[in-house]
Symmetry: C2
Subunit: 238 residues, 2 copies
Amino acid sequence: MNKYEMIAQDLEKMIMDGVYQEDELLPSENELVTRYKVSRSTVRQALKTLEENGWIQRKHGLGSIVIARDRLNFPITGLTSYKELQHYLGFDSLTEVVTFEKRIVDSSLAELTHFPQGVPVLHILRRRKIDGEFIVLDRDYLLYAYAEGLSKSQAADSIYDYLENERHLEIAYAQKEITIDFINEHDRQWLELATGDRHIVSVKSHVFLSDNTLFQYTESRHQVDKFSFTELARRQKR
Amino acid sequence: MNKYEMIAQDLEKMIMDGVYQEDELLPSENELVTRYKVSRSTVRQALKTLEENGWIQRKHGLGSIVIARDRLNFPITGLTSYKELQHYLGFDSLTEVVTFEKRIVDSSLAELTHFPQGVPVLHILRRRKIDGEFIVLDRDYLLYAYAEGLSKSQAADSIYDYLENERHLEIAYAQKEITIDFINEHDRQWLELATGDRHIVSVKSHVFLSDNTLFQYTESRHQVDKFSFTELARRQKR
DNA sequence: GAGTGGTCTAGACCACTGT
DNA sequence: CAGTGGTCTAGACCACTCG
C-alpha cells in the first residue's frame, strides 16, 4: 500500500473513532508532514482522497473540516454494488438467479446496450429479496470475453467479486440514468408489487473499464416505495 | 486564472472541437510539459481536472483516453442549478415565485431542514414551467443572514447567481436524496399533474458552504414522467 | 502577523502498457 | 524494450483566514 493511502486510511479511522469530530479541524498539513515523516505533497494527496470520499471539506487559510456523515444516508453513488450495499444496510437479503445464458447481440439489443451487433454477451436476470420481499429486478449484459468463467452461483453472490478479484478487471466508471417507467409484464412476473402502482424506478447503467471499453449494461428496477438514492454532490467550478 | 486551469480549459476545448476524438489518446504528460512549458505536476493537475469532469479516463502505462460524452445525457450531478440546466437543454422555461417570506425555524421545520430552532430563514416556493407545462415545484429554505438582500425577481431568475456573484459565497457540496413520494395537496395546487398518478419524484438537498455551514435546504418535486437523473459515477477504491 | 492551504518547480524512482 | 502514468521528495512563493 502507498504512503498516501496509509495516511488517508489512518485519518479516516480516527474520524470514525471520534478522535476528530464533526465540524472540527484535522491537524494542519505541516503538522501531518512531521507526524508521518513524509513530504507535503504526500499529505496533500491523502487529504485530497479524504475530500473526494466525503470525509472532509478543505478550506484555504483555515484547514480541513470534518464533514457530518449521516450514517443512514450511505451513498449509492460511486458504483457500489448490491452486495456491498447489503453489507452496509445489514439487512437480510437473498438473490435468485432467474436467467443465466449466453446471447449474441442483435440489432435491438445493440441499440439498448450500445454493444456492437454480433458480439457474445452473458445475459443474467436476478431478483433480490430484502427483508422477505422481492423488491429489485436486475438485468445484466456482460461482455462474454470477460465474464466467461463466471458461474451461476457466483452470480447469486457478487459479480464484481469475481471480475475484480479473480479476473483483475479494473472497473473505472459508469454512466447512470434514473427514470420512472411504467410497470411491465416482467416486473409483475418476478416482483411482489404493491397493488395500484403504475410505476417503477429504473436505474440504467453503462459500465466501462479503465481502458475505456464498455463491458456491462445493467438495468435495475426498484419498487417505488422502497427506492432511495443518496449522494454527496460537489459544486463544479466554472 | 491558474496555469493548470488554463491547460485544462485548452484541452477541454480541443476535445469539444474534435481535435482529440472519442477513444483517442491525449498527448503524453511529457509532451504536454514541453508544449505548455510547465512542470509535470501542473500538467497532471490539469489532467486530474479533466478526469474529474468526465472528459478523460487515465490509464497507467497507456495514457489519457477521451471518454465518449453523450451530448443528450448532461449530468445533473455536481449541484447544477435549475437555470444552468435550462441553458443546457435550450427549452423554453418560466419560473413563478409563489411564496417569498421570512420565517423563524420552529421545531418541525428544524427537524426537516436541520437548521437550528429559532434562526431566521428565507422561505421560497417556486413552480417551473417547461414547454408550456408546470412540471417542477421547488421549496427552498435559505439562512437569512446570507440570503438577505435577495429580491423576489432575482429568485425567479437564479438564486445562485446572486449568492455566488454578488455575495461571493462559496458553495461547496450538497447531500442529496431522491425518493418517490405520494402526491400531496400542494403538488395538486401548483402543478399540472397527469391524472391517475399517485406518485411524484422528490429530490431533497442539504447544501453546505466551504466553511461547512449548512445554509440551504431544498425540496424539488418533479412529475414522474418528466423526471430523469443522470450521472457519471466513478468506482471507489477499497 | 502568524499560520493555513493552493499553486508550481525540478527532479527521482517505480509500475504498468504496448510491441 | 522504450514510453507511459503513479508516487514521492524538498523546496519556493502566493492567497486566504483569523485574532
